[in-house]
Structure formats: structure tokens, C-alpha cells
Amino acid sequence: MSLMLTKEDLAKYPFLKQSAAYIESMQLNLGDLAAEEYSGILSKALMRIRDSIDRKIRPVDLSDPESEIISYPLSLALVYGSKSNWLLNRFASIEAKRVEEELRKEPGDRILEIAKFGFSWEIERVDLKLEYEELPFSIPLQSYLEAATNFNDAHWKLINRYVKGGSVFLNSGSLARLISEGFKSKIIRRASEREMHNFRIPDTLAPHMDEILRYAQENMQFDEELPQGLVSDARPPCIVAIMEDVKAGKSLSHMARFALTTFMVNVGESVDEVLKLFGNVADFDEGKARYQIEHIAGMIGSRTKYKPPKCDVLRSFGLCVGMDQFCKKAKHPLNYYRTKLKILGGSGGQTGARDRKKGV
């Protein structure tokens, strides 16, 4: 039996196809929304974005569900129009968290409906009863992997789930989280679609856009730039281990080589410095190595500066050598490095970093 979806539901869950259909039925033009008569909607949309910058999870305002529903696509348009990845990620995370909080208040059958209408997941009610635990839902393996690989906690790893016959079995809390994560990915994925590349906000909305960007700028926590040169003491254990292997002349796996090179390049080491590292490796070929390092540093080829793989990936490739206290909080070797730099002294500015540099 299908449950009825109310306007309040559409306001709470903007990813439902019914929400999109509702908005479409109103035949609104993005540029028109700057007009006086829609000022309530516009201010709601702006508040949504400011909330996300402030990491504030505001419950859905159900006193006026209609403007709540329309404020979502407007805020989304402004976020896409800003072309800021930082803002996009922040907005998607907070919107997703809000959805998760709403979902946790819903009964199981309702969560199931929402999942079905929001995504093309074939979720089923199974009511699997285990010892001291119940798993009422099952989701196809591929849908689970699509949504859950963004989570880093151990309990989201497939191996730690109840997997049988191509399905993953979940309790309602996990399903709520999965839906909210699916929503978040949807927002982020859409931004990288081809048609979004040329998306521009209509001129009428431009002043509001400037306001948002200014607010975002003020709140970006710290500059993502790292100091120009390696601070040995701040290296994560995985990188230390690879460097020791290099010193012992071990012929490194492709992934180890890639991790080390990207790490060094991202902490601001020069190509020559990185080359020196590899000088002792059994199968060293300087010409080839230089070419590859320059490629990774974004100096040649695709001009993308590559980042090291995240902790999860390093673990899968057997390059994680065990965690220390900083690893527990980090999901990425550069995260680890940044945190430790801060603790080692100062905010990791350019001066001082060089001074602290030790031989490797």
C-alpha cells in the first residue's frame, strides 16, 4: 500500500520526485524569483545557504510548506551558480543532515516509501530477526555500494554488513542515513554534469549571489594551502613507512609510488626533491620518473595536480601500517599532516615550515 505524501513531506524531502513535479507544475522562472512578491521565498533560500555555511541544521518550517518547497531549488541554483566546491559540499552535507534528522522521526514504512520515491533503489521489507538485533530492510548490493562508499566509519564497510543473496540488510537508522547520503551525492553529482558547466545565475539574482559569496569567504575556515616543504615530524605513518621502503631500495608498487609522490608534491616539495627520494630504488629510471612526477604535479599533461589517495584506499592496497592517535581522526593523509602541523606549532604557514624541515 502506498502512503499519501503531503505538502509537508515534499518540504521535508526535496529529493522526492513528487517534490520536483510540484515545483515544475508551478512553472516558475528562476529570474522571476527576485521579484518582490517572492521575497519570502528568496529570503528562505538565502537562509538555507547561510545555515549551511554556519553548519546549522534548522528544522523544516512547516507553517508555510509551499515556500519551503520552492526555496530548495532556488538555494540549489544559487549554490551551483557560485561555482564554489567548498560551498557545494557544505550545502549538500547540511541539507542531507537535515533530511536524516527528519527521517529518524518517521516510522519504518514511511522511510521505505521515501527511499523508493526518492531514488530508484529496490528496497524491500524483510524483517530479518537475528540474535538481539532486527534488520527490517534489504537493499540491492549495487545501490548500497553506490551510496555507502562515501562513509568512512567501519560499520559502513560492506564486510561489516549483513550481506546475503546480493542484498544488504539494514535497520531503519542505517536506511535513513543511506537516504540522506544518497541525497547528498545527488546534489554533488549534478554539479559536475555537463549541462551545469555553463549554468549562470540570472542578473536579477546577482546581488544576492555576491552576498552569499562574501559570507562564504568570511567563513571558510583556513586556507587549504600547505607550507612549501616537508615537515618530517608531521608525516603520517603510511608515508613514513613508504619512505623507509624507498631508503631500503625496495621496488615500490604503483600505488605506493603514487601515494608518496602525490603527498610530497602536495606538501610543496619540488620535482627535484621528489626525484632524489627515488634515487635508491632498484628499478629507477630518472627520465621516466621525472616525467611522471611532473605529470602528477600538474606541470604537464592534463594539468591536474593529483592528491594522494584517501586512507580507505591506502588500507585496501595494504599501505596503511596501523593507526596512531592522529590517524583516528583523519580520513586522508593530508588531513593528518595538516592537523599534526598545527599541533607541532603555528598554523603551518610558509615561514618556519622550512626551518623545521629535517632530512628524510
Binding site: Y132, E146, I159
Partner: protein, 407 residues
């Protein structure tokens, strides 16, 4: 490489029918080739049908032939971003090189290029004499290695793909790689669109990476009161329960001591029957032994699952754009065929016999050095510095391995 190898490869390919070059959904695959003596892969080739692929191969006689695990809109595009990825098969690569078998003592050698120390068997992580990691290896395969690889294939399929992932027996194909092991190609839609991250989860799942048994129902309710899963449960939950049961059932006191403290091991060993009965009961009970805690179970679990985790080359599974050997192509380092294996009779499959491509003729070779080798029904070695006449398949095998030269 010697001209004779190229000539024999060419003859082999000419003798095949066009249908032997069939690859599922050919027009959407990228093909790649490595020529004899060539270092650069010829890539981004597209073939619309098996006949045109055959024509190319017969004309160029490559040493190695690959197709992409991925499906592309434009497989011939040279920029990977322009190919238009449409999904990929899920591939498992089992390589006997990565499996520690006893036979490696007989046929593998390693050498430290720093200090010259040498040894037999599985290569050490670092040189026991100088501590450096500049280790060169010279490895061979034998029936035992390939049998170990076959067991891994069966484990992946029967223990994981079918019961846990719901893959049906018609959704995958198993191939002997033509040299050291096997490939499993899973073609079901379930996995086709999986990202690299999703594939990594699959690889971690079969390799036992990141397993936390506390997330599978093992809990300490009160002091020494332990609850846990049922052996009938699905996935890793039931698997861990069964593995611990089997391990404790078979374990000697010494085995247990290797996993847990001597006191716990002793208590467990002396109360084995009761412990196992408790696990069998409904609901199962996992405690009741003095000093036996959740930590003890975790230690026993990690000792128990050693035989259940799969030895695969995880890079192949994770990569959604991998190049894989073409069916019926020859492996340039062995002269053996990449051959589809009927999974229902895999137990009887003898790769060193059935993958032989050159069934007639003989060749005179000079063997520098080789361990005992069998190809088909012919056995040879170990031998060194010897010139002799051997069946063609065996001779080409040794030449391709770099251990012999034609005379």
C-alpha cells in the same frame, strides 16, 4: 624474442576460426596489443566483429592481446576521458605468485641485488643479510601452484560470489590466464556500473580487509557474558561464527596458544565440547569460560579466517578500466592459451595440458637453466646447460620464459 616463436604464434592464430576471437559486446571494448620485443602498448583499438580482430592479429602477430574490462561509447578515443565509460565487468585476478605454496621452495629463487645473497622459495620482504629491499626474483609455476590458484577461484565463487553477492552461475566466466593463474569475469548488471570505490569494497570483502567482528553481533553484555551470531547467519556474520567453530574444533592446544594467552588456551581446550555446544545452541552462547573475553574471540577469529580470505590481485578488481587478456590468445611469456574453463568441471581442469596450443612437432633447444617443468604430458628437468630435442609446446614454453634458446 625469437623469430620462431612469432612464426608459431602466427600459425596458431591463422588456424583459429573467427568465432574463437569472440569477446562479449566487442564494439564497446578497447583492444590493446604488445608486440614481440615491443615496450609500448598499442592501445585504443576498436573491432566491430571477431573476423576483423582475427585479421589484425594474423597480420601483426602480437605477443600479448588484451581487451578492456570496461565498455565504452567510443573505445577508440585516445583520451580516457573522451571514451565515454558505460560500465565494466567485475574482474578477479588470482595469481599463484601471490600465494604462499610449499612448492615455491623447489622452483623459485630470489637474489638481493645489493649484497648478492640468494635463497629459495617465497622472496623475503627485505634481505636477511643486508636489510635492503632490492630483491630480484626468478619464479616458475608448477601443478601445485596452479592447483592452489584454482582453489582460490572456487573459494571466491562458492563462498562469496554466489551466496553473498547473489551472482548466478551463468553470470560469470572463468579463464585460465595462460600463465600463472585464473581470471573471473563477472558480467551481471549488478556490478557493471560500480565505481572504483564500490569495487574496492567488493575486493576488501573477499580479502577480509577491515573486518570488525563487534559489528557482527559479538558483544559483551556483562562481565564474561558473551553473545554472538548464529552459524546459520548470512554473510561474514555466519562465516566468522562457522570459522571459529571449525577452528576450535580442530585446534590442538598449541594452535590455540598461538592465538590467545596460555591460560585461556588451556581453558578453551579442556572445555572444548561445552564451548562448541554453546555455539550450536539456540540462541548461541559464546562465553562461559574463565578469562575468556571479547578480545579472546577477536584473536581466535583472526586466526580462524585465514583460510577463508581470498588471495586476489586487488588492483585488478578495483580498476574499472583494466586491460584483460583476450580469450584464446597466447600468453607471450608461456606460449599457453588464455582458456575458458567450464566451471562445473573445474576440479578436473588441468591447465598445463588443456591450454597447450602447439600439439604437434618438436624443436631443438639449448636450456640455460630450468627446474622441473611439465607441459602437456611431457616432463623435463631440472636441468642446466643442455641441448636437446623436445616437443614444440614445451620448447616454446622454455623459450618464452627466457630459459632456453632454439638451436
Amino acid at each position: 624474442m625469437h623469430e620462431i616463436v612469432r612464426k608459431e604464434f602466427s600459425k596458431y592464430y591463422s588456424g583459429l576460426g573467427a568465432e574463437d576471437f569472440q569477446v562479449p559486446d566487442m564494439p564497446h571494448r578497447e583492444f590493446a596489443f604488445l608486440q614481440f620485443g615491443g615496450e609500448v602498448m598499442i592501445r585504443h583499438m576498436k573491432f566491430l566483429d571477431p573476423a576483423s580482430l582475427k585479421e589484425y592479429i594474423v597480420e601483426n602477430t602480437p605477443a600479448h592481446i588484451y581487451h578492456s574490462s570496461a565498455y565504452y561509447e567510443t573505445p577508440e578515443a585516445t583520451d580516457m576521458n573522451e571514451k565515454g565509460w558505460l560500465g565494466a565487468d567485475l574482474v578477479f585476478d588470482v595469481d599463484s605468485d601471490h600465494i604462499r605454496t610449499e612448492c615455491k621452495e623447489r622452483h623459485d629463487r630470489w637474489r638481493c641485488t645489493e649484497c648478492g645473497m640468494e635463497g629459495a622459495g617465497f622472496p623475503p620482504e627485505s634481505c636477511p643479510r643486508c636489510g635492503m629491499k632490492k630483491i630480484d626474483t626468478r619464479t616458475w609455476i608448477c601443478e601445485d601452484c596452479l592447483e592452489a590458484a584454482k582453489k582460490e577461484v572456487i573459494k571466491i565463487i562458492d563462498e562469496y560470489l554466489v551466496p553473498d553477492f547473489g551472482v548466478s552461475y551463468s553470470d560469470f566466466e572463468v579463464y585460465f590466464s595462460g600463465h600463472r593463474g585464473y581470471h573471473i569475469h563477472v558480467r551481471s548488471q549488478t556490478f557493471r556500473m560500480l565505481s572504483g570505490d564500490g569495487r574496492r569494497e567488493i575486493a576488501d570483502y573477499v580479502r577480509g580487509i577491515g573486518l570488525d567482528i563487534k559489528l557482527h553481533g559479538f558483544r559483551e553484555v556483562k562481565n564474561e557474558l558473551l553473545v554472538g551470531p548464529d552459524m546459520k547467519d548470512g554473510g561474514w556474520r555466519g562465516r566468522v561464527a562457522r570459522a571459529i567453530y571449525e577452528f576450535v574444533n580442530r585446534a590442538s592446544l598449541e594452535d590455540l596458544k598461538k592465538a590467545v594467552s596460555p591460560a585461556v588456551a588451556k581453558s578453551l581446550f579442556e572445555n572444548k565440547d561445552k564451548f562448541l555446544k554453546n555455539i550450536e545452541s539456540d540462541p548461541p552462547y559464546w562465553g562461559g569460560l574463565k578469562g575468556y573475553t571479547l578480545e579472546s574471540i577477536e584473536k581466535i577469529a583472526s586466526a580462524s579466517i585465514k583460510d577463508l580470505i581470498c588471495n586476489i590481485d586487488e588492483r585488478v578488481t578495483i580498476d574499472s578500466k583494466r586491460l584483460i587478456r583476450c580469450p584464446n590468445s597466447l600468453h607471450g611469456k608461456s606460449g599457453l592459451r588464455t582458456l575458458r574453463v567450464d566451471y562445473s568441471s573445474i576440479d578436473d581442469f588441468d591447465p598445463l595440458k588443456e591450454a597447450v596450443a602447439f600439439r604437434h612437432g618438436s624443436i631443438r633447444i639449448y636450456v640455460k637453466e630450468a627446474p622441473r617443468v611439465r607441459i602437456g604430458d611431457e616432463e623435463l628437468g631440472p636441468l642446466k646447460d643442455k641441448t636437446l630435442e623436445v616437443p614444440l609446446a614445451l620448447g616454446l614454453y622454455l623459450i618464452c620464459r627466457g630459459a632456453a634458446e632454439p638451436r
